[in-house]
């Protein structure tokens, strides 16, 4: 047989035919399919023993107990702890995203320094600390030349910051603004707590109890316990606020009042109570209060300012009187930027019912003992007004500090009028201790990333809104931190040592150990059998015994219902009369801006986590345009329809949005969500909507001199 073309083709044909009788083709197809399942970039499941680690959430100030579920030592999910009074098995959307945030692309992977061209380049921790030490040493001894902005309302870390600043000769330790600031203007010592669980009529002014205010998950649990399925509710909830937010929707009654006018309605209720003969003999200033309220807050006046019909106000007063244990919650609908007037006015109703430090009433809670020598008292730190300070610096009235230390806060995004904050920060050396690459970190000269709460030891003291003093620890549940981060407490101690400032500790862990040891100064108990509200209602808890550190560091929750001091209360007649809002109408900016906050939108220092994006409805954001809400009457008045583009213009800034028609927004108001419009972070959070903080406008409240922005006003026009 000669090898010619014909025999070759025949051979090939035989080969093809033969191949059909082998598994080669089918095997190749099959293996190619399997190969596609094994591409290295496909995420793999982690195998290994499954376990739970009990810890405390630090993503917002509510301090919920979390169980971090791990597989083979790797965190995979966060769940609410059932044995923790502040979570009781519940979890908020932000807490549920905790594990995902651990691996978020927005995390800063190690210390970095800003270069001349504006980019950030990695440096070592030794270099970073030397640089920080050098910058602080330059300012040492100059008055108020170093300023700290902390976003952690209730951590012991603030003691380290204030002691370090004290050692440098500065008094500039600030917290990001919140309800605590306003409360501290009314109550000089201690914190205010609210005993929801034992109350049977809850009247919330502004405070969005079920979504973004205070101990939100615990509040929801209290609400749920009072509304059992298929049975009569054991407590009635009434919400007074601009929008029918989660609280307004769930409450038995929602009364729409423009932001900033909540206090007027409260005093309108007080009018009826006083007319009905109620007194508050325990308050020294009762008669001044009575005269002021009865003369000024007549039903007609209250109706003119709030739009609430006189019968409705009288009915509310009647319901409050009929209740066994009424509880009135003061607050602003965004849990920040409210004035003393609204707060004191709502609080005064509690005093008329004499339910201060009583079951189901408001509680005065002690601050936990201080452990860092040289640290300022927490009450003094809480009372400092960051926004007023920043405005002062931007306007040149206050001298600009040399160094800003920003910890777990994002002031260049989340302060009202962030451009003013930018002006105040411009030119100073900015150090960011953020976990994430937020707007402030993006501008910082030095980035010293702190680990997430899943990777570090930290603590939570009595969150604002809690009805009892408490303490719990956050602990590392992951074997190795994911990135080259260092707990800020340790950085501060090491830098203080280099500056010859003795803070008394070698490591932040030791500070926390000392804090736990100091708890024994108060009567406390572990909440394993008896919950704090049960204890307040009379059930006897077993005193905390055994090794406190051992128990708390393994997740036990320490609580105290001890009353700190005999409270001589005042109704606040002086402050209420001094801070009362003017009754002149503002025609330049005729529409009230009702900002909305929700844990779905992240928190003050965390952008919307990718995990929460699917929770946003198509009428919250589409593409990069977000929605503002108004009712149909308001929309008609401005010639707007659903889906129209609209421009909100405030005295200081403006933003573009689309219109959503929602009747759960009061008349002549526009509701807009906070937390959108990030420009830093990662691709999941960036460029979604616009930043409403730009439109919020700061005014100074007369009488208290407090910076206030919850009652901002805008013009709206079709864009």
């Amino acid at each position: 047989m000669a090898l010619n073309r014909r025999s070759f083709l025949t051979f090939a044909a035989g080969g093809v035919a033969g191949t059909l009788f082998t598994p080669v083709i089918w095997k190749s197809i099959d293996d190619t399919a399997i190969w596609t399942q094994n591409w290295p970039w496909i995420p793999r499941l982690e195998y290994g023993p499954r376990a739970y680690a009990a810890t405390t959430c630090k993503l917002c100030p509510a301090g919920c107990g979390l169980n971090i579920r791990t597989a083979g030592g790797r965190p995979v999910a966060a769940e609410g702890r059932t044995d923790h009074p502040l979570s009781q098995g519940g979890i908020c959307p932000l807490g549920a995203a905790a594990v995902q945030l651990l691996y978020a692309p927005a995390r800063i992977k190690g210390p970095m320094q800003k270069q001349a061209d504006g980019t950030h380049q990695p440096i070592s921790w030794d270099q970073a600390e030397a640089l920080l030490k050098e910058k602080l040493a330059e300012q040492k001894g100059k008055k108020d030349a170093v300023v700290c902005v902390s976003g952690d309302e209730n951590g012991t870390i603030n003691e380290l910051f204030s002691a370090l600043l004290g050692g440098l000769g500065s008094d500039g330790c600030f917290l990001m603004p919140g309800e605590q600031l306003v409360a501290s203007k009314v109550l000089r010592e201690g914190n205010i707590g609210y005993d929801f669980e034992n109350a049977d009529f809850i009247l919330a002014f502004g405070a969005d109890l079920l979504d973004s205010w205070g101990t939100a998950v615990r509040n929801k649990k209290a609400y749920g316990a009072a509304h059992p399925v298929g049975e009569d509710a054991s407590a009635e909830y009434v919400y007074v606020g601009p929008t029918q937010n989660v609280t307004g929707g769930a409450a038995d009654q929602w009364i729409s009042v423009a932001p900033g006018m909540e206090g007027v309605l409260a005093l309108g209720i007080a009018y009826h109570l006083l007319q009905g003969g109620m007194t508050a003999p325990q308050a020294h200033d009762f008669f001044a209060y009575r005269n002021f309220v009865i003369n000024r807050y007549t039903p007609e006046y209250v109706e003119r300012l709030t739009g609430v019909a006189p019968e409705q106000v009288a009915e509310l007063a009647r319901k409050l009187r009929a209740a066994d244990k009424p509880l009135v919650i003061p607050g602003s609908s965004i849990a920040q930027g409210g004035g003393v007037f609204n707060f004191a006015a709502a609080l005064s109703l509690n005093m008329l019912f004499d339910n201060v430090n009583s079951v189901g009433g408001i509680q005065v809670l002690p601050d936990l003992p201080k452990v860092v020598e040289g640290a300022k008292a927490p009450a003094l730190v809480r009372a400092k007004d960051l926004v007023a300070y920043v405005q002062g610096v931007a306007e040149g009235k206050v001298s600009k500090p040399g160094v800003y230390l920003v910890y777990e806060a994002n002031p260049l995004f989340a302060l009202p009028q962030p451009d003013v904050a930018a002006k105040a920060f411009d030119g100073a050396y900015l150090v960011s201790f953020s976990t994430f690459y937020d707007e402030t970190a993006a501008q910082a000269d030095l980035l010293l990333p702190t680990p997430t709460f899943i990777e570090r030891l930290d603590d939570v003291q009595t969150p604002y809104g809690s009805g009892f003093a408490s303490y719990s620890l956050t602990r590392p549940v992951i074997r190795q931190p994911i990135f080259d981060t260092k707990p800020t407490g340790d950085v501060l101690l090491s830098v203080a040592k280099a500056l010859d400032i003795d803070l008394g500790y070698d490591s932040f862990d030791k500070v926390l150990e000392a804090k736990v040891a100091a708890l024994s100064e108060l009567e406390g108990f572990f909440t394993d059998k008896v919950q704090p509200w049960e204890a307040r209602a009379g059930k006897a808890p077993a005193a905390a015994s055994g090794n406190l550190w051992r128990n708390i560091s393994r997740g036990s929750f320490w609580a105290s219902i001890q009353e700190p001091f005999p409270t001589a209360m005042q109704l606040g007649s002086t402050i209420i009369s001094q801070t009362a809002p003017p009754d002149a109408e503002d025609w330049t900016f005729p529409v009230s801006l009702a900002a909305m906050d929700s844990r779905t939108y992240g928190s003050r220092h965390i952008a919307i986590p990718p995990f929460c994006l699917p929770l946003l409805g198509e009428q919250e954001i589409q593409g990069d345009v977000f929605y503002v809400w108004m009712n149909s009457a308001t929309a008609r008045a401005y010639g707007l329809q659903a889906e129209d583009k609209v421009k909100l213009t405030g005295p200081n800034g403006s933003c573009l949005a689309k219109v959503r028609i929602f009747e759960g927004v009061g008349r002549n108001m526009v509701a807009a969500p906070l937390g959108f419009g990030h420009t830093a972070w990662d691709k999941f959070s960036r460029n979604k909507g616009d930043n409403i903080y730009k439109v919020l406008t700061v005014r100074t409240e007369p009488g208290s001199n407090l910076a206030v922005w919850a009652d901002s006003r805008v013009r709206i026009a079709k864009a």
């Binding site: 035919a17 095997k27 399997i34 190969w35 399942q37 094994n38």
Partner: protein
Amino acid sequence: MEEKKGGTSAGGVVLPFLLGFVAALAFGWWGVPQLLYSKKTQPLVFTHQNHIELYGMSCDDCHSFRRDGSFSGLPGNAKCGECHSFPLGDHPDEIKFVEEYYEKGIEVPWLVYQYQPDNVFFSHAAHREYDCATAGCHPDVGSSNELPVYYENRLTKYSRDTMKMKDCERCHATVAAQEPERFAGAPNACQICHK
């Protein structure tokens, strides 16, 4: 010319065709597997036989179920180290285990014949009543003195012994048909395994 062409074509076509056919068969059945799979040996010599017969261990001692019902699979260093934290005897692999793996805290990179892909939910606990060796799920190494050669697909990096979906389906169909009351939960619906 035409006749000649026709005459030779009868004999001249069959032979090359047959040659091509046989060559393809040989290539397909013998050559391709040789090319497709690389042979690998386990990082250490391990004898199940010794552990069972000489030391009276049972399978459960190492391949246990955790309290939550999940299967711990191959034992890690901690488990092996309960006995082998220092060399028992002078076998080079015994010394290698202690020095190279145990003391350095590196887990032994055992080659697993039977990993299920991640898109399959597989619970060992639900299958523990079956004799997996005879059912064809596993190579039967329980009483062997040496571990079988590991064949790795060069293209997919899969073990050659990985179960195919049809093997799972066949057993589910047979078992569910044989004892429908007892195994009502073992039908072949997609979501039974791909959940």
